[in-house]
């Protein structure tokens, strides 16, 4: 259920009222930036995706229709933009594998001390395919079937990517922990 204030802001943004658009941006940009950072490897990429998300959000606002949570709608839009960005880069799931795993980095941290920033770094260090499938399945809650449809891959490929992503994450956590202790 939308709060009255939020509904007024969306209606204002639909009328091209720049103050309302700015207010919507101020309200949802931090949340969407968090989403962008999970899907992108670098801060610069995340900023580009956030920019594209808001450009598309204001363009598609008439289609929102006040159905469901605005935050959820904006978040789905943001995920779509992030996926399209990687598809534009000719992202290919088959080209990713354990061999492409980047060098383990980050400060040594015990598992119990892993915070937001450390977990984000672990996700960002994953190869593109692993990162996207892990985000979609583990954090957004999509099924393998939905992921397959969105990315144009087989369900089995999605499962395989997820298992490999988990394995890499475990290895990374264990590695950091060994260094810390």
């Amino acid at each position: 259920m939308l709060s009255m204030k939020e509904k007024e802001l969306i209606e204002g943004a639909l009328r091209d009222d720049e103050r309302c658009q700015r207010a919507l941006f101020d309200r949802y940009a931090p949340l969407l930036m968090g989403v962008c950072q999970r899907y992108c490897r670098t801060q610069a990429e995340a900023e580009d995706v956030l920019q594209d998300t808001f450009v598309r959000l204001f363009a598609k606002l008439p289609k929102y229709g006040f159905q469901g949570s605005f935050a959820g709608w904006a978040r789905r839009l943001c995920v779509n933009v992030a996926l399209k960005t990687y598809q534009r880069k000719r992202f290919s799931m088959e080209q990713t594998g354990l061999d492409n795993t980047p060098e383990r980095g980050g400060a040594p941290t015990a598992y119990a001390d892993l915070g937001e920033q450390e977990l984000l770094q672990l996700i960002q260090a994953l190869p593109d395919g692993y990162r996207i499938v892990f985000n979609l399945y583990a954090i957004e809650g999509y099924s393998h079937k939905e992921i397959g449809e969105r990315l144009g891959i087989q369900e089995a490929s999605s499962r395989s990517q997820l298992l490999k992503a988990r394995k890499v994450l475990q290895q990374q956590i264990a590695h950091r922990q060994r260094i810390a202790i």
């Binding site: 720049e18 700015r22 941006f25 940009a29 931090p30 949340l31 930036m33 968090g34 962008c36 950072q37 999970r38 801060q43 900023e47 956030l50 920019q51 594209d52 808001f54 450009v55 204001f58 363009a59 015990a110 598992y111 119990a112 001390d113 892993l114 915070g115 937001e116 977990l119 984000l120 996700i123 892990f134 399945y137 583990a138 954090i139 988990r166 994450l169 475990q170 956590i173 264990a174 922990q177 810390a180 202790i181």
Partner: protein, 424 residues
């Protein structure tokens, strides 16, 4: 036990050294097994699903800037639609005129001194015969006809035979005959019709002959247009990259415009020479965020570059009936008459004024322009023509002085409309 042993036993035997504060934590962490499968997913999901991150400064300005081209695309789409509509309309008009001319060829009534003379339905051979009749009449009138030579050169031998077989129609006045001849041309021998029209206006002299009009070579035009002016910065001094980046994100094109008074001189054939005076205003919107009473506020103002231009264009007019299309191209001389507005400079906390920064040169420059003019006559006399003209122009040099940090270049594309008047 020696005294030495006793010394150490007393000194260190019951010593309780300090234990590192995080030792137990480390032991616990080492003992904890790293989660697997769904538990690992859960660890990431609970921590990161609703995580809010810091939004970089200036992101809103980037979004506003990125949304702006959509408006320009709308303008371009409207202009394109307008051109399509114009082209479609002109096709329909041309089509209907051609159809009317074909029908008129079957039964045309010509008023002669208040009485009606009916021209019989004409076949292509007879049409040419009528044209040749006009040539005969001209020959009998004894005047020189500039228009007659090309007409005769396109007359085939079979036509000449038919000319001999058709009796002279001396009761027709030359102007009426010309009207009949041109209007009764069937659409097939279009090779002939455009040639006739490119000869320029054919005037009937009081003596009854024809000649190409020696007067009426000048036409005046008044044109007003809106355009998109594309601004591009180049680096002229070392370390000016930051200034270029600042200006690129703070200045955005607005609708620019130009007003022209032009003179058009008819050369031989389809060629024309066009010159005149154009006032052009290149406009950009300047935006920056300023901290006012603790809040960021987006401030906007307009930047303007005012130019006076003298174009010298060669124009080639394609044949047509009422609707005519001309292609123009040529150089232009421009003078920067003034500049106003603001710009951001990394060395200054406040925006600087363009006019006082003495970055812009006030001198002559060169450019080139090209355009496509479509005209349609209006009014009974047809001395006035409506004019629609998409145009493009580029200023070759920079608008800034050589010692300025950045060079500033422009090209411009737009659409202008206006009126053309025959001058006597």
């Amino acid at each position: 036990m020696s005294e030495l042993d006793q010394l150490f036993r007393d000194g260190l035997g019951n010593r309780k050294p300090e234990v590192p504060a995080d030792l137990w934590k480390k032991i616990k962490a080492n003992k904890a097994t790293i989660p697997e499968g769904e538990a690992l997913d859960q660890l990431f999901a609970t921590t990161l699903a609703n995580r809010q991150a810091a939004v970089p400064r200036g992101m809103w300005a980037r979004i506003v800037a990125a949304r702006r081209p959509a408006a320009l695309r709308r303008y371009a789409a409207v202009a394109l639609l307008f051109l399509f509509a114009l082209a479609g309309g002109s096709y329909l008009v041309y089509d209907s005129l051609t159809a009317a001319a074909t029908q008129g060829g079957r039964a045309t009534q010509v008023q002669t001194d208040g009485t009606a003379a009916i021209v019989p339905p004409a076949s292509p051979t007879q049409d040419r015969a009528i044209l040749s009749d006009t040539a005969d009449l001209r020959a009998t009138s004894g005047t020189t006809a500039t228009a007659s030579a090309p007409v005769q050169s396109f007359t085939s031998p079979s036509t000449e035979e038919s000319v001999n077989s058709v009796p002279p129609r001396s009761d027709f006045r030359p102007q009426q005959l010309a009207t009949v001849a041109i209007s009764t041309l069937p659409p097939e021998p279009l090779l002939l019709a455009p040639l006739l029209l490119t000869l320029g206006p054919i005037n009937a002299t009081p003596e009854g002959g024809f000649r190409a009009s020696g007067r009426q070579r000048f036409q005046g035009e008044l044109v007003l247009g809106a355009a998109y002016a594309h601004q591009r910065f180049g680096l002229q001094a070392e370390g000016s990259q930051a200034q270029r980046e600042l200006r690129e994100v703070s200045e955005f094109p607005e609708v620019s415009y130009q007003l022209s008074a032009r003179l058009r001189y008819r050369l031989g054939g389809a060629w024309r020479l066009v010159t005149g005076l154009t006032y052009t205003e290149l406009r950009n919107q300047f935006e920056y965020e300023s901290m006012l009473q603790g809040n960021d506020r987006l401030l906007r103002s307009n930047n303007r570059l005012r130019l006076l231009e003298v174009p010298l264009l060669a124009s080639y007019e394609l044949p047509g009936r009422r609707l005519r299309v001309g292609i123009n191209a040529g150089p232009l001389l421009h003078y920067t008459a003034g500049v106003s507005g603001h710009y951001l400079d990394p060395a200054s906390a406040r925006p600087r004024e363009l006019a006082t920064a003495e970055q812009y040169r006030r001198q002559l420059g060169l450019g080139w322009t090209t355009s496509l003019t479509t005209t349609y006559p209006i009014g009974k006399q047809r001395s006035l023509e409506l004019l629609v003209e998409p145009f493009f122009k580029q200023y070759t040099g920079s608008f800034t002085a050589p010692d300025a940090a950045l060079s500033e270049h422009y090209w411009m594309g737009g659409l202008q409309v206006g009126l053309r008047k025959q001058l006597r």
